[in-house]
């Protein structure tokens, strides 16, 4: 039986061979899968419409054509079935990459992910690993109709056994997806769907930051904005606007939601003594609550003010014409920062 522990890529070298011209995030993801399929015959891709169509977002465009239907194929339309069969394939020794078509469409697979994907290694005392990548186009900002704009990260980060990462730019999309495919742990890979066509942050040559590390994407001295996925761009815009108010904003792209990079975040907060976390998901019980509690526990005596959460409201994701009132904006973030008492 073909039981393999071979990995798809060396996480140390994770930039695409040909990055001469700017890549969109969609193209970077496509290139990452293409390179993994080329390098490791155990990598397979399946899901809804990922075959000849190339997925509803075209992220798997051309892969069935170039690698054949026994490497990249359309599955029946059933998310629990997709994850459940990926588990069996991974037990056999394959490295499946599966796509949940939209964030909220991953919920039928919740049991397979939480009860099996996350637990298999632990329940078998480390004897069975599941090197599965679950790609989920996530969050709003594209005017999606109901059930097409959820941010589901807190469900996954609350589940021990899962690694949860989310890129915010094409370079990270490439290197993090390569590393996720090479990982022997199952990875929830959240792709900010509003960023699929962005070209800023295109892959450069040289080694990439490991996927479990946060990145300081803008240095500042007065406040740390903790952002990830689609809110990194919002945080950067906020930082720019804040210059007019003589506020020096440091922006961190968390990249890895689980594990959490305490080191990078802690160092920043000790420097600025103020932090706010920004996400699209609803606030109550959200990922920001964990970040605020965790950073407070560790850095309380360095903090000059309570950690703020600037997030979606505690309501279901709105209909497309109303989503602009829900999503965190630079103005809303700046307003929130102004509620702190600044003269200490």
């Amino acid at each position: 039986m073909a039981k393999t522990t071979e990995t798809a890529a060396d996480p140390g070298v994770t930039q695409p061979a040909k990055a001469a011209k700017p890549l969109t995030m969609a193209a970077a993801l496509n290139t990452a899968m293409r390179d993994a399929l080329t390098e490791d015959s155990n990598v397979v891709i399946f899901g809804e419409d990922v075959g000849p169509l190339g997925g509803v977002f075209r992220i798997t465009d051309g892969l069935t054509r170039d690698f054949g239907e026994d490497r990249v194929w359309d599955s029946p339309l059933a998310e629990s079935g997709i994850i459940g069969t990926a588990i069996g394939m991974a037990m056999y020794g394959l490295r499946p990459i599966v796509e949940m078509q939209f964030d909220a469409f991953s919920y039928p697979a919740f049991e397979q992910i939480v009860s099996h994907v996350a637990k298999m290694r632990n329940r078998t005392r480390g004897r069975v690993s599941l090197p599965i990548v679950i790609r989920i186009p996530t969050s709003g900002g594209i005017g999606g109709v109901e059930h097409h704009s959820d941010s589901s990260e807190a469900y996954w980060t609350h589940t021990p056994g899962l690694t949860v990462v989310t890129p915010s730019n094409p370079a990270d999309a490439y290197s993090m997806l390569r590393e996720a495919i090479a990982s022997d742990d199952p990875v929830i890979f959240l792709e900010p769907k509003s960023h699929y066509w962005m070209k800023e942050g295109t892959p450069q040559s040289g080694p990439a930051l490991p996927m479990n590390k946060a990145a300081v994407v803008r240095e500042g001295t007065d406040v740390t904005l903790l952002s990830y996925g689609p809110t990194v761009a919002v945080a950067l815009k906020t930082a720019k606007l804040a210059e007019d108010e003589d506020l020096s904003v440091e922006v961190i792209d968390l990249r890895s939601l689980s594990p959490f990079d305490d080191e990078t975040v802690g160092a920043s907060v000790r420097k600025t003594s103020r932090a706010a976390v920004i996400h699209e998901a609803a606030q109550f019980g959200g990922y920001g609550a964990e970040v605020a509690a965790r950073v407070t526990e560790r850095e309380f005596y360095h903090l000059a003010a309570p950690i703020l959460r600037i997030t979606g409201a505690d309501i279901p994701f709105p209909a497309p014409l109303l989503e602009k009132h829900y999503l965190p904006t630079p103005e809303r973030i700046l307003n929130a920062l102004s509620t702190w008492e600044w003269e200490v």
């Binding site: 039986m1 073909a2 039981k3 397979v44 239907e69 026994d70 194929w73 359309d74 599955s75 029946p76 059933a78 629990s80 079935g81 994850i83 459940g84 069969t85 990926a86 588990i87 069996g88 394939m89 991974a90 037990m91 056999y92 020794g93 394959l94 039928p108 049991e111 397979q112 009860s115 099996h116 637990k119 298999m120 290694r121 632990n122 329940r123 078998t124 005392r125 480390g126 004897r127 069975v128 690993s129 021990p160 056994g161 690694t163 990982s183 022997d184 742990d185 479990n212 594990p259 959490f260 305490d262």
Partner: protein, 374 residues
């Protein structure tokens, strides 16, 4: 190779009458009712008998020890030996079994040592054996989820051209779960080499089959998925062995999946904490006792002069040895290492998890140093 074939499967309903080769009285079913099948070789039947007798003794011992508190729970398979053992006996070593919590005797029959097998029910670890060593997945508790694992595994084998088949056990109640549907359907579409063995033991804890489906029988499901379906007397080991063997052979040689409904009965409560007197009649249980899978095979083999007292004694001794070994294994204190709780969650080590591990270590050290005891 493509997983998907464009050709549509013909719609063929399974025979309504359960297929049987040896009747409840222990007589061979007349040749004209055997649908062209022969009885398995007498040596196969003797081996089925041997394994079923030992399995029942083993199962009885586990139930007894559970009542004494040595295990936290145990779902017995008493009465279902023909379905459990008949299926496993039909498998090759390289095939994989995807069992449920009910199927401990099947896992035992795959060669998993007792202490490892009962690790989960005793409570020292969720799955105690190495699935790769025994080609046996962990026992699934979330119902019907394992059908999809079996289909994925089998599909991977098919993609790699390995002649391996998988068996997924599933109960009658679990066929109501969405994952059962998805498992059957994915297997049909991908022509996965998977054999689904539905053990219809009549009850899902307390709820009878009539409250799970209005269909004539569960085997009828197969036609909707374009899969061959069989309705088998699940207390006839010869019939189970024959149909599962044929289905596995078909699966290994590219013929796709099969759904087999084994009609059987759970003689014991769901687990030790169940009370069947609240939902089923003693007469019902007695009627099924008359169809006992071991009694009927013993009668058949005796009539064939295939077993004598010497063999019975030999099997009885093996049974007692298996029960004693199991008792010894369960009476020995399990080796528990609280630090191991943190070891297997991730391949990649996590500093934050290490902090929690060290906190527990410090707690335990304080207790063993005679400090604060909670």
């Amino acid at each position: 190779m493509s997983l998907t074939e464009e050709t549509r499967a013909p719609a063929v309903l399974p025979d309504a009458e359960a297929f049987s080769l040896i009747d409840a009285g222990g007589a061979a079913v007349p040749e004209k009712q055997r649908r062209g099948y022969d009885l398995p070789d007498i040596d196969v039947l003797k081996e089925l008998y041997r394994r079923m007798v030992i399995a029942r003794r083993w199962d009885t011992q586990v139930t007894a020890l559970t009542r004494q508190g040595r295990l936290s729970t145990y779902p017995s398979a008493r009465g279902q030996e023909a379905s459990e053992i008949g299926t496993v006996a039909a498998m090759q070593d390289t095939d994989w079994l995807f069992p449920t919590y009910r199927d401990s005797i099947a896992v035992w029959s795959r060669g998993v040592p007792t202490a490892e097998l009962l690790s989960g029910f005793r409570g020292d670890w969720h799955c105690g054996w190495d699935p790769n060593e025994h080609r046996t997945a962990p026992q699934a508790t979330p119902l019907a989820t394992q059908t999809l694992h079996a289909v994925g595994f089998a599909t991977a084998a098919k993609l790699k051209n390995d002649p391996i088949a998988t068996v997924a056990f599933i109960g009658d109640g679990a066929t109501s779960e969405g994952d059962a549907h998805e498992g059957f359907n994915f297997a049909g579409v991908w022509q996965a080499p998977t054999v689904f063995v539905i053990q219809n033991n009549q009850y899902a804890i307390s709820v009878p089959i009539a409250k799970q489906t209005r269909a004539r029988m569960l085997a009828d499901r197969a036609v909707g998925y374009g899969i061959p379906g069989y309705h088998v007397d699940g207390n006839d080991a010869a019939a189970v062995y024959t149909i599962v063997s044929e289905a596995l052979e078909r699966a290994r040689s590219g013929g796709g999946p099969t759904i087999i409904e084994c009609l059987t009965y759970r003689m014991e409560p769901h687990t030790n904490s169940d009370d069947p007197s609240r939902y089923r009649d003693a007469e019902d249980v007695a009627a099924w006792k008359d169809k006992d899978p071991i009694d009927r095979l013993e009668k058949y083999l005796t009539a064939q002069d295939a077993i004598d007292d010497a063999l019975r004694e030999e099997i009885a001794k093996e049974s007692e040895d298996a029960a004693a070994a199991m008792r010894d294994a369960m009476n020995a204190e399990p080796a528990l290492d609280p630090m191991e709780l943190f070891e297997h969650v991730y391949n990649a080590p996590r500093p934050a998890l290490l902090e929690q591990r060290n906190a527990l270590k410090a707690e335990l050290d304080e207790i063993s140093d005679g400090g604060r005891v909670n």
